[in-house]
């Protein structure tokens, strides 16, 4: 399936783009994180990073399907 990943903060630098269109078969956020970590080893150097699906933080078992708004979220630092 085709999914769009929104990137923020340092993830934008790692992806070298504010969003990424990818074609892949991942059932859940955990599988997506694994796939991304393989493709972008810089992600593994972060303190941590989260996946958000449709504006909610996902756990590894959160399902991903075509059309979802998926974001890759590095450590937040608002305030």
């Amino acid at each position: 399936m085709k999914i769009t990943l929104l990137a923020f903060g340092i993830v934008k630098d790692i992806f070298k783009a504010p969003q990424l269109e990818i074609d892949c078969e991942v059932a859940d956020a955990g599988a997506l994180k694994q796939m991304l970590a393989d493709k972008y080893p810089e992600l593994k150097k972060l303190a941590h990073y989260m996946v958000a699906v449709n504006n909610e933080y996902a756990t590894d078992t959160t399902a991903i399907k075509e059309g979802d708004e998926i974001a890759i979220i590095p450590p937040v630092s608002g305030g």
């Binding site: 340092i10 303190a47 933080y57 937040v76 608002g78 305030g79």
Partner: protein, 138 residues
């Protein structure tokens, strides 16, 4: 009542405080974040804030909703600014009114502590010799 905003323009501190005051409030606690001139001993020129706007608003609203549930507060306001801010400028204002001050203090502190953990806003420190995304690396 709740007022949440993510904005490019400067936060109007006085208007924020005015909005939370009600005739039933005995006290207001306000937290004002300000851009410091140094971090870990290094001179900071500016901070550049970006947000995942839709989710940041929804996470800020969650905090406000939770505050309203957990403490007897009258109103809570959270205004966060994005964009490039110089030293002394204000990235965030959180104001809470309550009949009694303990609730206002507890709720305001909980709100800023939680915002810094959960709201997808990201800041880059701009130094004379480069830029660093805050907290990105261990």
């Amino acid at each position: 009542m709740i007022d949440i905003q993510l904005q490019n323009e400067a936060v109007d501190i006085a208007a924020c405080i005015e909005w939370v005051r009600t005739p039933t409030s005995g006290g207001v606690d306000v937290f004002i974040g300000t851009v410091r001139d140094t971090t870990k001993g290094k001179k900071v020129l500016a901070l550049d804030f970006e947000a995942y706007a839709a989710m940041a608003l929804s996470e800020m609203k969650k905090i406000a909703d939770e505050v309203i549930t957990k403490w007897p507060v009258d109103r809570i306001l959270i205004h966060h600014r994005i964009g490039k801010l110089s030293v002394g400028e204000v990235p965030v204002v959180i104001a809470v009114s309550a009949a009694h001050r303990d609730a206002a203090f507890d709720a305001c502190r909980y709100a800023i502590d939680t915002l810094k953990k959960t709201v997808p806003i990201f800041k880059k420190e701009i130094f004379e010799d480069g830029e660093v995304w805050v907290s990105a690396h261990p």
